[in-house]
């Protein structure tokens, strides 16, 4: 328990305020229209469509379940979650934007959800409307607990932000329903959901209600998972083998669902990437409150496997479109990657929970990597277009004409048949204030350089000013009117560890870095200035990664850069960066809503004529020319003319 309790955090970061306003102004109204089938959208023509057309029908499903409309369910069995994630995002937005019009909508949405909920707490409109006899009968595919988990998160958030008790009651009723039906007791289902989510949601509910049965139930789901690997198969046999709720899903391997063996025996991060990180978030959450060693070990094991062997430099995870899954250690193809936006968002959740367990800079480094790169790239600068897949190398021609890359869009889409990503990113952005500090005992960890004003219950306030991520000078003004002693931990990002300058009340100090943090004992008003190393870094990957041999990526601060064809005459693969020359950085106010661009010296091979032979003897005198390669932040790519993009560039 922390002796410091946060009262409020106001994000003042220019960079993030822009996005947070965008979510309120564009994303939430737009998604609301979409869910009400009032938006003029076109669904992405990619393999993730799954045959959905332009209607979301998500609100209509709830209305039908509530008896206010007639008709059938439409969309995925987890269509409800679009609504819940949207509600959660809206709930967080009230913390920085008073919005009575929106609140009217969200209040009546909560009313509608309550009406749709069954007496016993059950809520999953697909089953309520079209398959009541199959409730909890095909958990591998049903997403029922996943769906209710998402409501629970939303309900807790809405209650916390608005005080709406009904929102919380719906959540506890759901959890009670699940508690009644699941477990190892007689007459209960000894199973778990095909898609982890309920586990982390139940701990959120425990936090707000302090009712330990929810924590216990969450732990049950985590410990039970994979102990009876035939559980799903047996359910499917009883439910009718051919009656898949989602086509062919019964043929997916058990690893896809992290259900092939108990979690304690799982050595690597396998299967569907979003499932893995949601599961890990739940495990870390439960481990934090219960001290469960087995779960903690699993968290550490899977964290290391993901971060040290299976993560792209942008934070993207999931190396294959088949099953939206991880593949194997060091397999990181840049052009056939999946790198789902939701997986990066989920990785941010996981990192946040790991920080709650241990003050380790690496967790905050990865959180930052996701926030500024892998997750953020999921949304366009106008807030109305989204990436499901986030490649590190893309070529519109390849995406159109090589079916192995057809899942890689080179422009963000209006919407998706399976629309998990847009609202997931929205809820991360509107709750970004919750990702800046981690509190433990007498320590306040300031691990994200997102400018803010934080007020604590005990009167302490911390103002952090900066122009991050473009500038590296971070200024803290701490007020401690009651002279309370506390430790302030400031993260030293791994990319700045060799070049850091800290000034305490005007005087330079040398501090030891402990596991990625420097610590200062504070007991009065204090000023701290930190200078981070914002030089341009040429990055290489481990040479265990076959795909990046002889290539480099460009990073500055937390931002990973990319080359786009719109700035550089293609093909981009004919550029070779000259690392000896100094790159030129420039803040361009009018470009991509304001970005720092980097120009690096490069050699460009003159493109071979179409008449030259496809293969020829090596000639050492291929024409080359000196040129500049202009790079923009990865998250901002594909906001201009469609073209090639590359993160890993030849050197």
């Amino acid at each position: 328990m922390s002796i410091n309790i946060l009262k409020r955090v106001k994000v003042t970061s220019k960079f993030w305020e822009k996005y947070r306003k965008l979510v309120v102004k564009e994303v939430l109204p737009y998604q609301w229209k979409v869910m009400n089938d009032e938006a003029d959208i076109s669904i992405a023509e990619d393999p993730q469509n799954n045959g959905q057309d332009k209607n979301s029908h998500a609100i209509a499903n709830l209305k039908i379940a509530a008896g206010k409309m007639t008709g059938h369910h439409y969309g995925f069995p987890f269509q409800d979650t679009d609504v819940y994630k949207w509600l959660e995002a809206a709930a967080y937005s009230f913390s920085y934007k008073n919005n009575p019009d929106l609140k009217k909508i969200t209040d009546s949405l909560v009313d509608l959800i309550e009406e749709a909920q069954d007496e016993d707490g059950y809520l999953s409109t697909f089953f309520q409307i079209d398959a009541p006899e199959r409730k909890f009968k095909r958990l591998q595919q049903s997403h029922e607990l996943y769906t209710m988990g998402h409501y629970i998160e939303a309900g807790v958030a809405y209650y916390e932000s608005t005080g709406n008790k009904k929102a919380l009651t719906i959540a506890t009723k759901m959890a009670d329903c699940i508690n009644k039906n699941f477990g190892l007791g007689e007459g209960k289902i000894p199973g778990y959901d095909g898609h982890p989510e309920i586990e982390l949601a139940l701990v959120r509910l425990y936090e707000v209600t302090q009712d330990s049965k929810y924590l216990k139930l969450s732990r049950y789901f985590l410990k039970q998972r994979g102990t009876n690997p035939e559980f799903f198969d047996k359910q499917i046999e009883s439910d009718g083998i051919e009656r898949d709720i989602i086509n062919n899903m019964r043929d997916f391997p058990r690893e896809y669902y992290q259900a092939a063996e108990p979690i304690k025996d799982q050595k690597t991060a396998d299967g569907h990437a979003v499932r893995v990180v949601y599961l890990c978030t739940g495990m870390a959450y439960v481990a934090r409150y219960t001290g469960d060693k087995e779960l903690l070990d699993a968290c550490n094991r899977l964290w290391n496997d993901i971060v040290k062997r299976r993560m792209y430099i942008t934070g993207g995870i999931g190396s294959t479109t088949t099953g939206e899954s991880f593949t194997y250690d060091y397999d990181l193809p840049n052009d056939t990657i999946y790198g789902e936006t939701c997986a990066s968002v989920g990785m941010a959740f996981f990192a946040k929970q790991m920080l709650n367990i241990k003050a380790k800079g690496e967790y905050a480094d990865i959180l930052e990597k996701e926030l500024f790169n892998g997750a953020l790239s999921g949304m366009s600068l106008d807030g109305k277009h989204f990436f499901y897949v986030n490649p590190l190398e893309a070529d519109p021609e390849a995406s159109r004409k090589n079916p192995g890359k057809s899942h890689v869009l080179t422009h963000r889409a209006d919407w998706f048949g399976c629309a998990c990503c847009p609202a997931n990113l929205a809820r991360l952005i509107t709750s970004i204030d919750k990702y800046i500090y981690t509190l433990d005992g007498d320590t306040i960890l300031s691990h994200q350089f997102i400018a803010n004003r934080a007020e604590f219950e005990n009167g302490i306030s911390i103002v952090q000013n900066n122009n991050y991520p473009w500038d590296g000078d971070i200024h803290y003004v701490i007020k401690d009117p009651k002279n309370i002693s506390f430790r302030l931990g400031i993260r030293i990002p791994s990319w700045s560890k060799n070049n850091i300058n800290i000034v305490l009340n005007g005087k330079k100090v040398i501090l030891e870095v402990e596991d990625g943090f420097v610590y200062l004992d504070i007991e009065k008003d204090t000023q701290i200035d930190v200078d981070l190393d914002m030089s341009v870094k040429f990055m290489q990957s481990s040479n265990r990664v076959s795909q990046n041999i002889n290539k480099l990526a460009v990073q500055r601060g937390p931002i990973i850069y990319a080359a786009e064809e719109v700035d550089n005459d293609g093909p981009l693969w004919n550029f070779q960066i000259e690392t000896k020359a100094s790159p030129v950085c420039k803040y361009e106010d009018q470009l991509l809503s304001g970005v720092e661009t980097i120009s690096v010296k490069a050699i460009k091979l003159k493109i071979d004529s179409v008449d030259s032979p496809l293969y020829r003897e090596l000639d050492c005198d291929t024409k080359k020319m000196e040129t500049l390669l202009k790079l923009v932040p990865y998250y901002s790519w594909a906001n201009r003319a469609e073209g090639q993009m590359m993160v890993w560039i030849n050197r």
Copy 2:
């Protein structure tokens, strides 16, 4: 017409004789057992299985159709073609191996086929046994003309090699049946087969029968194709949309079948690669006999698109497993390639026909490339294992764990559910004597350096001795007892064009190279010695190919080389070839049935520790060591311990 008519060509090449004996000793008996369901095989576990188990049932299908057995058809609708291609291969083998036991089998096989044939000439056991009412009703998928085309090829070959008239009669009855049913006349089907093959087969039949109706019918199929792009869809609608003969095939794009537009309008080689090259072979064949300009233009256009923009350096074609298809110009991924063995075999057919139209060295170069690389790699050195897919970069771990590469086997399989490749390669090898000379007017083109003794009807004989492909000294001894004047064209391979030495009757001569050939006027006994450039070449690809930037391939003579993990400590991607040092060549008699190996100087990056970070700042002092990289002929890879393989290596 040629004034010189070949009487016989005896292949004496040590390299090819080994394969030709292997086919007689191992491949034909083995495949016969497989087709009779008597072999103990395991079908490849790759996506091409299509759910077939270890039974071929191919002979049983014919017996059922012949009324000698009861039961249902089993296997693909084109299962019969395994038998026909096998019969064709056996027929060719009689030209070099008298084999009464085999002939007993093939004679009675011809009897069986005759019994299976319907009165009207129709023969496709799937339809005869299980769907007689659907004959010719779903040509997109039925493979009926494809199947009969393969019989026609076999029947003609068998007739030519053994004089068996029954074999020819079956073929003419088939062709007559097709002629009766197809065409633009009233009551005829204005369509064509989903899989080209009948076109080239009909010209073979025309050649032996001199009946021009077969040539005319072939031309009809070629000219009609794609003129009514909705033809297949309409048939499917009448036949019942859901009743696919091969699952989901109705959803394949029209380009897959080269049926989206008339051939004359097709600008690029699109769709299923085998279909494309079979179609092209038929077009070249018809163009040769009819002079049809439209078809000839199409041949040239598609030849150029394939050879100049869509062919791997090994001769492999088909850049994607999806639809076993071409993708787009310069898209040549080495690890997700398809490169079907049958496509390389078909490309050899196409090249052979193009040579008949024009004496152009490029056609013979490509023919040679296929023979020694892309096609030959389809079979193991023991003649009992086969590749369907021929990658240029492979890694067993990737094939097992990245679903995007699961089609790439890293060991040859016993057999395939769709077993088109093994017999296709066998018939190419047993007929290789037909690929050495091309005759036109008074010219004899000697375009392949496959040692042989050729006798012509007019008394001329040509003996070509060499130890090709390992040595480049080619010796011709020509006897011309009747002092007939003729031109001998000898191909100068493109890889030797800058370094060639020709000695005529002991005297060095300088000859002009005309379109890849030198010509000598002969009218008496003559000796010619040609010295080809057998130096090791480091090859680069056009820098329009993104996949091969900063990489090189190693070629010596016609042979493309590959590095295998069994010879070099992996990972292979950490080797960088030093092109300044001279490679060392060595003939190793005991290795891989005897191969010339090449060792090149290379720098090897020390592999990064698993504990080192996945991404780090560029360090210019990564540990490197000097080493040798050993290379073996590409066709011989995967005959030893399973491991990584690479053709394009970092430089």
